[in-house]
C-alpha cells in the first residue's frame, strides 16, 4: 500500500518533464492513468467478505513514526472516492483546462493532493496521518492560488491555508496528548485502550484539539468561511478537493476517533451542535448567493454539517446514514460542480442573475443538473440516492442517544426541527440552482459568450456521477452490503447492516418530515423574491469573514503598533528595559532563595589610604555624570582608571597596576583624539522624569551587584584552585611570578585568544577607517 499512496507523489515529480516536452497530448491524459490504476487496485477489495488488513513500513521507528497502513471499510470507501472521483476529475480537467495553462503545475499539485489524501485515510499512525493532513492543506493552498494573478485567489489561498493549518496544528497537539497518554501512535491500539484515554484528566483537551482540526478542515461553522473563497480554484479542483474529498477529511477524522470518544457526552453535544448549526447556516446562506459555485460551496458546507451531526449522534443508524451520505454527496455534488464548470466554460459567467433559460441550449447539462439537484433536495423518487440518505438522516434525528446533561435533553428536543429547517433550505437552493440556470427567461445579451452544449468529453465525468446517483438510488442495498456496511462497522465498532427501503408508509415520521420539506420548499422557492430581504437582517453585515479579516488586519497592524512601541530604536530605552528586567528578576530570585548572606569574619583590615583612594574614585566616577564638558568627562574618567591602578598596587597586584596605567593612558589619549573632531554637542540634560528613571535603575543595579558580591564573598565553602598554582608555579611552570606563569602557561589558551581579540580589533579598526577614506576619494 505504501507504493499506492506514494506513487502519485513520485510520479508528480515527472510531470514537469512531461509537460515541458513539445507534443500535442494534453498533460492530463497520461495523468489520468494514475487514479484509474489506483481505483482498480482498491475496487478489488470490495465485497461482502472483506476483512480489514494492515501493512507496516518503517520510517522513523525510534519516534514511533511509521507508515502503518490500515485498510478497513471506512478507509476503503474513502480510497475509492479519492481515486474514482480523482479519475473523473482528471478526465474532466482535460477538457476544462486549456493546454496553454501551466498544466504541469496543476497536475503536480493534484497528484500531490491525491497522495496526501490517500495517506490520511490509510494511515493508522497519527503522526503520518498528520503529515499527510498538512500536505493536503499545502496542495489545496497551491490549487486555490493556481490563478495567483487574481487578488481573490491569493486571498482565498491564504485564508484556507491559515484556517486549515491552524486546525492541523491543533489536531497535532491533540495527537501528541493521545500518544503521551497511551504510549502509542497507532489509532487502532488507542481504540483498544480507549479506557486509558477516557480516564485521563486531559481527555477533554485532547478531544477539543482534535475536533478543532476536524471542524476547520470540514468547514464547520464558524470555520466554514474559507470554503466559499476556495472557489477561486479551477472548477475541477472545487469538485474534487472542496466537495468530494479533502473537506471530508475532517469527517473521516471524527469517524476514525469516534470509537474512542463516543461514550463521552460532550462529544455528542459538541459535534452535533457544530454539525446541525453548520447544516442550517450553510443551507440558509446558499440561497443568498449569486455565484453558482458559491451556492454549491455553501451547499457543501451544509451537507458536511449534516454528516458531522450524524457522526455526533453516534447511534448505529446515524453512523450508517453518515457513511452512506458521504458516498451519495460525492456523487451528486461532484456532478453539480462539473455542471457549474460547464456553464462557466460555455456561457462565460457563473453569475446566476445573468443566467437562465439555458435548458434549450444545453439540454444534456440541464438533465445532469436535474438529477443532481433533485437528489440533493431529497425529492422522494425511488431512483435518487439523496432521498434515501435524507430519510435516514431524519430517522436518526428521531432516535438520539440519551444523556444526563441538560444540553443533551435540549438537543434531543430541537434537533429534529432544525433538521427539517436545514432541509427546507436545501430544497430551496437546489431548485434555485436548477431553475436559475436552466429555467426561466434567456438573457443572452448579458452573457459574454453565446452558450452551447459542452463537448462530449466534458460531459462524460458528470454523466458517470449522475449514473452513480441513479444506480445507488435504484439498488441501494447492493452497495450497502458490499462496502457501506463495512465502513459503518469500522466506525460503530459493531455490525450495522441495515436494509435500505424506499417506502416506509405514510405513518413514518421521517416520511412526514420529507413531505413537510417538499411542501415548505416549494412554497419558499416560488416566493423567494418576497422574503429574500430577510438576508439584510440575518446575517446582515455580521459575518465570520469580518472576524477573519479583522484578525488578519490586527495581526499586521496590531503587531506593528506593539512593535513600534517596543522597538523604538533608542539605545537608552533598550538598555533601561534590559537592565530593569535583569535587576527585577535577579533580585527576585535573591529574595526567593534567601540568597543574601553576609559574614564579617575573615575580612581584610581597613586603612586610611585605601579609604582615601576609594573616595577619590567614587568622586571621580560620580563626576563623569555631572561634568558638563566632554573634555572634563574624559579626564575625570581617567582619574577613575588611575585610581583603580592605585588600588591594584595596594592589593599586591603589581602587574595589574602597570598594565592598567599603560592602558589607561592610551585610552585617554584615544578618547581625546576621537572626540576632538566631533561636533561640539553639549551634554543635554534629560527630562526630570527620565533622570529619575535612569537614576533608580542605575542605583538599583549597582546595589544588586554589591549585594551579590558581598554574598559571594561571604559564602566561603571551598578552597580556591589557586593554591595549586602557587605550589606548582616554580616546579612545573618554571617561573616565580605566578600571575605570569598562569597567563603564559596554565591559562595560556586565554592569553592566545586575548591576543587574537586585540588583533581582530586592530584589523577591524583598520578596515573601518580605510573603507571610508577610499570611498571619500571616489
Amino acid at each position: 500500500m505504501l507504493y499506492v499512496v506514494l506513487i502519485p507523489l513520485l510520479l508528480a515529480c515527472l510531470i514537469p518533464f512531461i509537460s515541458k516536452m513539445k507534443h500535442n497530448i494534453h498533460t492530463g491524459i497520461p495523468v489520468l492513468l494514475i487514479p484509474s490504476a489506483i481505483f482498480i487496485y482498491f475496487i478489488r477489495f470490495v465485497g461482502t467478505n472483506f476483512e480489514p488488513m494492515r501493512q507496516s513500513y518503517n520510517w522513523i521507528p525510534s519516534l514511533g513514526i511509521n507508515f502503518d497502513f490500515y485498510l478497513d471499510g471506512l478507509s476503503l470507501l474513502f480510497a475509492l472516492l479519492i481515486s474514482g472521483i480523482g479519475a473523473l476529475v482528471v478526465l474532466y480537467s482535460i477538457y476544462y483546462l486549456d493546454s496553454q495553462e501551466r498544466l504541469g503545475h496543476f497536475y503536480v499539485y493534484l497528484l500531490m493532493f491525491m497522495s496526501a489524501m490517500l495517506g490520511i485515510v490509510l494511515s493508522d499512525n497519527i503522526f503520518v496521518l498528520y503529515t499527510f493532513w498538512e500536505l493536503t492543506s499545502i496542495s489545496s493552498f497551491l490549487l486555490i492560488g493556481y490563478w495567483h494573478f487574481n487578488e481573490k485567489s491569493r486571498y482565498g489561498a491564504l485564508k484556507s491555508l491559515l484556517i486549515t493549518v491552524l486546525g492541523g496544528l491543533s489536531m497535532f497537539g491533540g495527537f501528541i496528548l493521545l500518544s503521551v497518554m497511551t504510549g502509542t501512535s497507532s489509532i487502532q491500539i488507542m481504540i483498544q485502550n480507549a479506557e486509558v484515554i477516557m480516564n485521563s484528566p486531559y481527555m477533554p483537551l485532547a478531544l477539543g484539539f482534535i475536533l478543532l482540526g476536524a471542524f476547520t478542515k470540514s468547514a464547520q461553522f464558524p470555520f466554514h468561511i474559507w470554503l466559499p473563497d476556495a472557489m477561486e480554484a479551477p472548477t475541477p479542483v472545487s469538485a474534487y478537493l472542496h466537495s468530494a474529498t479533502m473537506v471530508k477529511a475532517g469527517l473521516f477524522l471524527v469517524a476514525r476517533f469516534s470509537p474512542i470518544f463516543a461514550g463521552f457526552e460532550w462529544f455528542f453535544i459538541i459535534v452535533s451542535i457544530a454539525g446541525i448549526v453548520t447544516l442550517c447556516w450553510g443551507s440558509y446562506m446558499a440561497v443568498h448567493q449569486t455565484d453558482l459555485k458559491a451556492i454549491l460551496a455553501f451547499s457543501t458546507i451544509s451537507q458536511l454539517g449534516m454528516i458531522m451531526a450524524m457522526l455526533g449522534f453516534g447511534t448505529k443508524l446515524a453512523i450508517f446514514a453518515a457513511v452512506f451520505h458521504i458516498l451519495c454527496h460525492a456523487t451528486f455534488k461532484g456532478s453539480l460542480f462539473m455542471v457549474a464548470g460547464i456553464v462557466d466554460h460555455e456561457a462565460g459567467t457563473r453569475d446566476i442573475r445573468n443566467l437562465g433559460g439555458l435548458m434549450t441550449l444545453m439540454p444534456m447539462s440541464a438533465a445532469l443538473a436535474l438529477f443532481g439537484t433533485f437528489s440533493m433536495a431529497g425529492i422522494p423518487l425511488p431512483f435518487l440516492n439523496g432521498f434515501y440518505s435524507k430519510e435516514l438522516f431524519f430517522k436518526s434525528t428521531l432516535k438520539l442517544p440519551e444523556g444526563t446533561h441538560v444540553i443533551t435533553t435540549f438537543l434531543v428536543e430541537v434537533i429534529p426541527y432544525l433538521a427539517v429547517f436545514g432541509s427546507i433550505f436545501t430544497f430551496v437552493y437546489s431548485l434555485y440552482f436548477l431553475f436559475g440556470t436552466f429555467g426561466g427567461q434567456k438573457q443572452l445579451d448579458k452573457l459574454p459568450k453565446r452558450p452551447h452544449e459542452a463537448p462530449v468529453g466534458m460531459l462524460i465525468a458528470p454523466l458517470v456521477l449522475v449514473l452513480g446517483v441513479i444506480i445507488i438510488g435504484l439498488f441501494p442495498n447492493a452497495f450497502n452490503g458490499a462496502f457501506i456496511a463495512h465502513a459503518a462497522e469500522s466506525v460503530a465498532g459493531t455490525e450495522v447492516i441495515k436494509e435500505i427501503t424506499f417506502w416506509h408508509g405514510f405513518g413514518s415520521t421521517a416520511f412526514q418530515m420529507s413531505l413537510v420539506v417538499v411542501a415548505a420548499g416549494i412554497l419558499l422557492v416560488s416566493t423567494r423574491r418576497k422574503w429574500s430581504m430577510i438576508y439584510s437582517f440575518v446575517p446582515g453585515r455580521a459575518s465570520a469573514n469580518h472576524i477573519y479579516d479583522a484578525a488578519i488586519a490586527q495581526l499586521d497592524n496590531g503587531s506593528r503598533h506593539i512593535n513600534t512601541f517596543i522597538m523604538t530604536g533608542s539605545l537608552r530605552r533598550y538598555m533601561a528595559i534590559i537592565l530593569g528586567t535583569v535587576f527585577l528578576i535577579t533580585f527576585g530570585f535573591m529574595l526567593a532563595t534567601g540568597g543574601f548572606t553576609i559574614d564579617f569574619s575573615n575580612l581584610a583590615d581597613v586603612t586610611i589610604t585605601e579609604i582615601a583612594v576609594v573616595l577619590v574614585i567614587i568622586a571621580a566616577a560620580v563626576g563623569t555624570i555631572f561634568t558638563k564638558h566632554n573634555l572634563g568627562a574624559i579626564l575625570v574618567a581617567g582619574v577613575v582608571g588611575y585610581g583603580v591602578s592605585l588600588l591594584f598596587v595596594i592589593y599586591r597586584a603589581p602587574d595589574l597596576a602597570l598594565t592598567q596605567l599603560v592602558v589607561e593612558t592610551i585610552s585617554v589619549a584615544l578618547f581625546l583624539l576621537c572626540f576632538y573632531h566631533l561636533p561640539k554637542l553639549r551634554n543635554e540634560k534629560p527630562q526630570v522624569r527620565t533622570r529619575w528613571i535612569n537614576g533608580t535603575v542605575s542605583i538599583g543595579f549597582g546595589a544588586l551587584m554589591t549585594l551579590i558580591g558581598i554574598s559571594a564573598h561571604s559564602s566561603d565553602w571551598f578552597s580556591s584552585i589557586s593554591d595549586y598554582f602557587l605550589e606548582t608555579s616554580h616546579s612545573l611552570g618554571g617561573g616565580d611570578n605566578v600571575v605570569n606563569v598562569i597567563l603564559v602557561d596554565m591559562r595560556g589558551l586565554d592569553t592566545l585568544f586575548e591576543i587574537t581579540v586585540l588583533g581582530i580589533a586592530a584589523l577591524a579598526i583598520y578596515s573601518l577607517i580605510k573603507l571610508k577614506n577610499n570611498r571619500g576619494a571616489k
Partner: protein
C-alpha cells in the same frame, strides 16, 4: 586526551591569520578560504566520529591537569554543534563571493569570518567558564568587525547599538564568573558543577546562575532582551546575517543549555519554570515583530526569537523528550536560519528592494528561488516531514508529558504565525501578475549553497531515523551531568 579537540578552534585561527597577509589577492583568498573551511569541516566530522564512538573526549591544554588548567571538552553536544557550525560556514563561504563586493572581501572579510568560526567553536568546546568568556569576546569582536564591514550609515547606526549592548553583557559575564569564583573557588565548569552540587545550590548560587542566564539570554536574543538583534542582523550583507543568525544567538542558547543542565540543576522548579515563561513570551513577541514589518530581511531576523524560544522551552521543561527536542531544534534552526537569510538576501538582490509590497510576480522570473522560499517556510514552521517537525514533536511531547499545556498552545499558535510571516513574502512578492518591466538577473552561485542547506534540513526531517538516536544520546548525557564531570575530573 586527544589533540583533535583543539583543531577545530586552531585551524580557523591559523586560516584567518594566513589570509590576513594578502587580503587583496582575491584569486588566492577565495579558493584558500574554501579549502580551509572544508578541511575544518572534515576535522569537525572526525571529532564527531571520535566522540560518538569513544564518549566525551577532553584535552587538557598545556598538559595542566584539570581542573587547574584550561580544559577543552568535546562532549556529544559540543561536537555536533561544531560540526553543524562548519557546515553552515562552508555554505556561507561559497555564497560569499557572489554577494559581497570585491572591496568588502579585500577588507579582511575572510579573516574575520575564520576568527568568528574559531570563537564559536571555542565557545562550544571549552570546559572553563572564564575561557568561555574569552571565546565569546573573540566571536563578538569578529562579529563587530563583520557587522560594520562596508560602513554604511544605517549599518553604523545599528552596529553601535549592537556593540554597546553586547559589551554590557560581556562585562556582566565577567562579573558573574568572578562571583562564581568567589563562591566555589574555581572556574572549571565540571568542578563548579561538582561543588554546586555539594552545597546543594544555595540561594546565592541560584542568584548568580540567574545573572548568568541573563548574560546568555542577551546573546541569545530572548524576550525581553532581544532589542539589539533584529535591526542589526538585518542591515549587514546576507552572508554575514546568515552567519550571525545561524551561529551567534545559538552560542548564547548553547551556553544556557550547558550551564543549566550541568551546573544549576538543583533548583529546577524555580529556575527552569521561569525559562518556560520567557520561552512563551519570546515566541509571542518574536512573532509580533515578524508580522509587524514588510522588510523581508527583518521578517527573517525576527523569526530568530521564537526559534530561540522553542529551544529554551525544552530546557525549561527539562525532560528527555524536551531536551532532545531542544537540541534537534537547535541544529535544525542553524540550517534553516542560515538558508533563510541567504534566501532573503537573494530575494532582495533579485527584487532590488527589501519591501515585500513593492514587488510581485517574481515567480515568473525566479521559479527556483520562489519554491525554495516556499519550502523553507514550511520547514521553519515545523510542518512535517521536515526537520522543524521532529524538533517540535519532541518539544511538545516533552512539554505535554510534564503537563505544560499553556506553552504548548502558544507554541502551536506561534508555528502558524511563523508560517504566515513567510507565506506573506511568498504570496506578495512571488505570486501575482507577471511584471514585464523586471529584467531578470543571474543568481549564479547563490542558489547552490541554499539548496545544500535546505537539503540538509529536509534530510534532518525525513531521515530522522539516522539522526535521532544521536540526539537522544546527547540529551541522555545532558541529563546525567556526572558523565561530563567524570570525564574531566576522574582520571
Amino acid at each position: 586526551m586527544n589533540n583533535l579537540v583543539v583543531l577545530p578552534i586552531i585551524t580557523p585561527l591559523i586560516a584567518g591569520i594566513i589570509l590576513a597577509f594578502f587580503p587583496k589577492k582575491l584569486q588566492w583568498v577565495r579558493p584558500l578560504s574554501k579549502l580551509f573551511i572544508l578541511f575544518n569541516l572534515i576535522l569537525a566530522g572526525a571529532l564527531v566520529w571520535v566522540v560518538f564512538t569513544n564518549g566525551t573526549t577532553i584535552l587538557e591544554t598545556g598538559d595542566w591537569k584539570a581542573p587547574y588548567g584550561i580544559v577543552l571538552v568535546a562532549d556529544k553536544l559540543a561536537a555536533l554543534l561544531v560540526f553543524t557550525t562548519n557546515i553552515v560556514a562552508a555554505a556561507c563561504s561559497f555564497y560569499a563571493p557572489h554577494s559581497l563586493t570585491d572591496r568588502k572581501e579585500t577588507y579582511y572579510f575572510y579573516s574575520f569570518f575564520f576568527f568568528l568560526i574559531s570563537g564559536v567553536s571555542g565557545a562550544f568546546l571549552t570546559g572553563d567558564l572564564f575561557n568561555m568568556f574569552v571565546f565569546y569576546e573573540v566571536l563578538l569582536m569578529a562579529s563587530y568587525a563583520l557587522i560594520v564591514l562596508g560602513g554604511d550609515k544605517v549599518q553604523l547606526r545599528e552596529s553601535i547599538k549592537y556593540v554597546f549592548i553586547n559589551l554590557f553583557s560581556s562585562m556582566l559575564f565577567v562579573t558573574a564568573v568572578a562571583f562564581v569564583y568567589g563562591t566555589v573557588g574555581t572556574v572549571n565548569m565540571a568542578q563548579i558543577a561538582q561543588r554546586v552540587h555539594e552545597v546543594d545550590q544555595q540561594g546565592i548560587l541560584t542568584t548568580i546562575g540567574i545573572l548568568m542566564f541573563f548574560v546568555f539570554a542577551v546573546k541569545a536574543a530572548l524576550f525581553p532582551l532581544y532589542y539589539w538583534m533584529p535591526n542589526s542582523y538585518a542591515v549587514p550583507n546576507p552572508v554575514i546575517s546568515a552567519l550571525f543568525g545561524a551561529l551567534l544567538t545559538k552560542v548564547g542558547i548553547y551556553s544556557i543549555i550547558r550551564v543549566f543542565s550541568l551546573i544549576f540543576v538543583h533548583n529546577v522548579e524555580l529556575t527552569h519554570d521561569m525559562f518556560i515563561w520567557i520561552a512563551g513570551l519570546s515566541m509571542i513577541f518574536g512573532i509580533i515583530g515578524a508580522l509587524s514589518t514588510n522588510n523581508i530581511k527583518l521578517i527573517i531576523a525576527y523569526n530568530i526569537i521564537p526559534a530561540i524560544g522553542f529551544i529554551l522551552m525544552g530546557i525549561g521543561v527539562f525532560n528527555q523528550f524536551a531536551l532532545s527536542g531542544s537540541i534537534y531544534y537547535l541544529i535544525h534552526d542553524m540550517f534553516i536560519k542560515s538558508s533563510l537569510f541567504l534566501l532573503a538576501g537573494t530575494v532582495v538582490y533579485a527584487a532590488g528592494t527589501s519591501d515585500l509590497r513593492k514587488v510581485s510576480g517574481l515567480i515568473h522570473y525566479y521559479p527556483v528561488l520562489g519554491w525554495l522560499l516556499f519550502l523553507s517556510g514550511f520547514i521553519l514552521a515545523g510542518i512535517p516531514p521536515f526537520s522543524g517537525f521532529i524538533g517540535k514533536l519532541l518539544l511538545l511531547k516533552g512539554a505535554l508529558a510534564s503537563r505544560e499545556i499553556a506553552i504548548v498552545i502558544i507554541g502551536l499558535l506561534a508555528s502558524l504565525l511563523i508560517l504566515y510571516s513567510i507565506m506573506k513574502i511568498f504570496i506578495n512578492s512571488f505570486w501575482g501578475e507577471k511584471d514585464e518591466s523586471i529584467q531578470p538577473i543571474s543568481l549564479k552561485g547563490r542558489i547552490a549553497p541554499i539548496v545544500i542547506l535546505l537539503a540538509l534540513s529536509v534530510f534532518l526531517g525525513i531521515g530522522a531515523e539516522f539522526i535521532y538516536p544521536f540526539i537522544e544520546s546527547v540529551s541522555a548525557d545532558l541529563l546525567q551531568p556526572e558523565i561530563y564531570i567524570d570525564a574531566i575530573l576522574k582520571e
